[in-house]
Subunit: 123 residues, 4 copies
């Protein structure tokens, strides 16, 4: 049985430039958690949309069969980095079915805040 | 391929009147993050529902093709502002397919709290 | 156009007994935010499930046409109150289409934490 | 009427090894909240996926009819415990329809942070 879908969208996106910690685990970050539960490797492309310019990307990544990949938007840099303190959104497209969840850890203040939601998936 | 839907609902809504910071980024706020991934500009109308009065709106906004718009409910004022410290909900309708995510940043206390969820979309 | 569905489920449920504030807005609480966007009043029944006993309820409430109702599980008491510090889940059934979102404000510690998600809706 | 689905996926997963409290309620943890609203007991299997090794599991659990089970991933240990400070994801499969919601309580810092979302369900 195939689990997941091939097109996902995350409408919220914002990476705070500030962090109270330099520990990578506690640095302010946004993540797309991608699960590839199937038996074929997934080729995923990410397109990033902004308020006032043409989209960035596509960013390419591979998620091997039966693996998960938690991609930090902070780490994307090819073809260009994602700007900080800037509203964006993203669309993920995969050649095989995957599942995508969106999470932000915000450590602008001394205590962290978290948000998470399953992404929107296209039937 | 067309991504998204034309009708979205956010059942939770509450803008705290208090904020520990006057920095716009850290002021208590609620946002509807709208992605228009298509090639036609979107005309979006927002209707806001309350517990004990007729709905407010419609509020009108445009989201250009291939752009995102993170709308703060705090900033809506035509035809009327959204009251603070008041339960509300919202329905967004677009003439082209979009994706909508709901986020609140709450800074009533010294440390911020966050919540987010994809909105409910009508098939 | 009719927006929403008639059956919703919230699988998470937990009301902390502790709060750092006696202010009602900042007391630890769980809420089902119900939107009735249609032109007919909604009769909603809530059934609450536990780990080790038969379900409680049904709890009855009405959501007028074009209104929202943010129900605190803390306030339900007929036929019986929801116990604190206890895992539960809930199913909401309505005679007309509604939209349901789940939110918790947790103020066990000095700073609040928030979670929210659209409930699961049955096609 | 049958409520729920038989296949669910949670793409995010991360159990912090640190907690500021030794109180079980406030220890950093991840939970899958499973509701079995039907009249037949559910046999649920959980498979856990990682970034760089084959999946763990299946983990087996039973959710009786008309009951909820809030499973902490921290507590899974047969066939093996879930490693801390490690990205993972999970797929839940049930022989009867259930509803699944994902929650994390993070208490690495003095104040807790929460996230929650309905899991992705397969039609």
């Amino acid at each position: 049985m195939e689990i997941g879908r091939k097109v996902w969208a995350i409408a919220e996106g914002y990476i705070p430039s500030q962090s109270c910690s330099s520990d990578r685990a506690l640095t302010s970050h946004e993540t797309a958690c991608i699960l590839n539960p199937g038996n074929r490797d997934a080729q995923v492309t990410i397109t990033v949309y902004f308020a006032d310019r043409e989209p960035a990307g596509p960013y390419h990544l591979a998620v091997p069969a039966r693996r998960t990949c938690h991609v930090r938007f902070n780490d994307l840099d090819d073809p260009e980095p994602i700007p900080r303190d800037t509203d964006y959104t993203s669309v993920l497209q995969s050649d095989v079915s995957v599942v995508v969840q969106h999470t932000r850890l915000d450590s602008r203040r001394a205590e962290i805040a978290l948000l998470s939601t399953m992404a929107y998936s296209q039937a």
